[in-house]
């Protein structure tokens, strides 16, 4: 509560502009509408029957809007190579599993790294940090080869599987997540943990029963940042899952459709809407958390 009142005070940093508030309100509103124009234009065009209708009048609202739109949706939902529902399911499964694993494992790692003061813990923390500056393109070619080698040596299939890509996300998500948890845990007072130890908790209990619940705010940030990345990721799924294989995520299905119907814009745009809609709906519901998570993550 204290924080919100605090924010309020700081937010109106230009008191003298108060009388101009309506001007600013209107300017912001116009800008927001301009910002939404791309989405509005897309929404107009998903209801067109075919490409000719778009070429004739790209910015006009068509006749039979809803019939055409539903028709386009039906074409996508029943398409054998797009597999919308299965792609959505796999996207959901992969994102959920990855976020759970990254959240638990990274916070565990960050906690022991903060609470153990040895030369190892410092070195390992810096190793994780180094991962922040390595762009994906630098490791992608050796990674594809490594996945194949793992399969050849151990018989565990890594490519085209859910566990393969989830494990990869745990690895690639670790640097940023460990870094964020590390910063947060450092500010958690040690006394709480000492009290728990005196009460008879072992280390595992201290972490999962005492520390873990305290991490909630930074957990939200971690979920938002990693969730947006994993749900929308394209390159790693292309390399690990491949195109047109049984395990297909939503971005991959968009790529497949655009490849099949290069000029059928009403269909492509409908798929674009269908691919973006799950996240937009989620955003409407947990908007406050996402924005808060983003802002606090941003200053870190």
């Amino acid at each position: 509560m204290q924080k919100t009142t605090n924010n309020k005070q700081k937010t109106n940093w230009s008191v003298t502009l108060k009388q101009n508030n309506w001007t600013i309100e209107i300017i912001s509103l116009i800008l927001l509408i301009l910002f939404f124009m791309p989405i509005i234009i897309v929404l107009i065009n998903v209801g067109k029957a075919d490409n000719n209708a778009i070429i004739l009048d790209p910015l006009g609202l068509p006749q039979n809007y809803f019939r055409n739109f539903l028709n386009n949706i039906e074409r996508i939902l029943t398409h054998r190579q797009i597999r919308y529902f299965s792609s959505f399911g796999y996207s959901l499964l992969i994102t959920t599993l990855s976020l759970t694993a990254i959240g638990i494992f990274s916070s565990m790692a960050a906690w022991v790294l903060v609470r153990t003061k040895t030369k190892y813990s410092k070195a390992i923390f810096f190793l994780f940090l180094s991962g922040l500056v390595i762009p994906f393109q630098v490791v992608m070619l050796p990674l594809v080869r490594l996945l194949q080698d793992i399969t050849n040596f151990t018989g565990i299939t890594m490519k085209e599987t859910v566990h393969g890509i989830v494990l990869a996300y745990v690895g690639f998500g670790a640097p940023l997540s460990v870094f964020m948890f590390y910063g947060f845990i450092k500010s958690v007072p040690l006394e709480i943990e000492e009290a728990a130890i005196i009460d008879g908790c072992n280390q595992r209990q201290v972490f999962f029963r005492v520390v873990f619940p305290i991490l909630k705010p930074i957990f939200v940030t971690m979920l938002v940042l990693n969730g947006l990345w994993i749900w929308n990721d394209y390159l790693l799924p292309v390399l690990v899952l491949g195109v047109k294989n049984p395990v297909q995520t939503l971005p991959l299905s968009v790529g497949v459709l655009a490849g099949l119907y290069t000029k059928d814009w009403p269909l492509i745009l409908t798929q674009v809407i269908l691919a973006a809609i799950p996240l937009l709906i989620l955003f409407l519901f947990v908007q406050k958390h996402i924005i808060k998570g983003m802002t606090s993550g941003a200053i870190k």
Binding site: K10, P38, V42, N45, V272, L279, T295
Partner: protein
Amino acid sequence: MTKNILFGNSRRAQSNRSFWLFLFPSLSAFLLFVIVPFITGIYYSFTNWSGLNTGNESFIGFDNYRQILSDPQFGFSFLQTATYSLLSVIIINIVAFGLALLVTQNTILKNVFRAGFFLPNLIGGLVLGYIWQFLYNRALIVWFEPSLIAVGNTSILGLAIVVTWQYAGYIMMIYIAALQNVPQDLIEAATIDGANAWQRLRAITFPLVAQAFTIALFLTLVTSFKQYDTVVSLTQSGPAMQMPVWFANLYGINPITVQSTEVITYNIYETAFVRFQLGVGQAKAILFFLLIGIFGGLQVYFTQKREVEM
């Protein structure tokens, strides 16, 4: 005594065991998928690894690097990536800071504006590219002919605008967080002393949010350099264009046709997975890593220096 550090029952042994136990899942995945490929990747960049000889490649020293440096398309990719990154860093930060100033005013719809400007961030890079390919080539063409991404000279500007639309909302969040920490009384005092809005912005706000500029510039620079998905769906590295004469002169050749939005990441992917020259592709990736390091480091160095001066 040493053997007891891991397997004994002493307190020290117990805490050592849980140290490694707690680290194991994250650390092993990170080592396996990031550090190991990074190190083997350095070696592969010195080999003639290709799609046909995987496992039988041999060490060829700096040949890949020499080949890259004499390749005009790669040089041009670098030029376009750098120009595009510079463009988008400037546009994104101006737009984002402007929006942040607007939405930190005391407006009724403040929260709606913040959420609204942030919204495009939810759209993935691939989907984003298709939306804007349609906008540029089919819809906006009613007013702007030819479309920005149909001409080699303007295509990177087209790309920068797309990335701005997506990313400005996120950078706006960083500036909002910084602006909220500007003390109210300083602004009030300046107002009483007769400073106008621009003077207050320049003399109080800018220096106090200087740190946010460093972070935001770094993030936008690195993100612009790493852009790949959007290029795949927006332009597929096209349209083709004649390289500028001054650029051809650097290589001592006559101007040839190049792909105008073939950014470095796209060039790496093409080299590796279309031309199957994986060793060359990996060497390009290593150069890409060094370039990001140099540009990012320089940017942080100069903006931090400026932070102190302000």
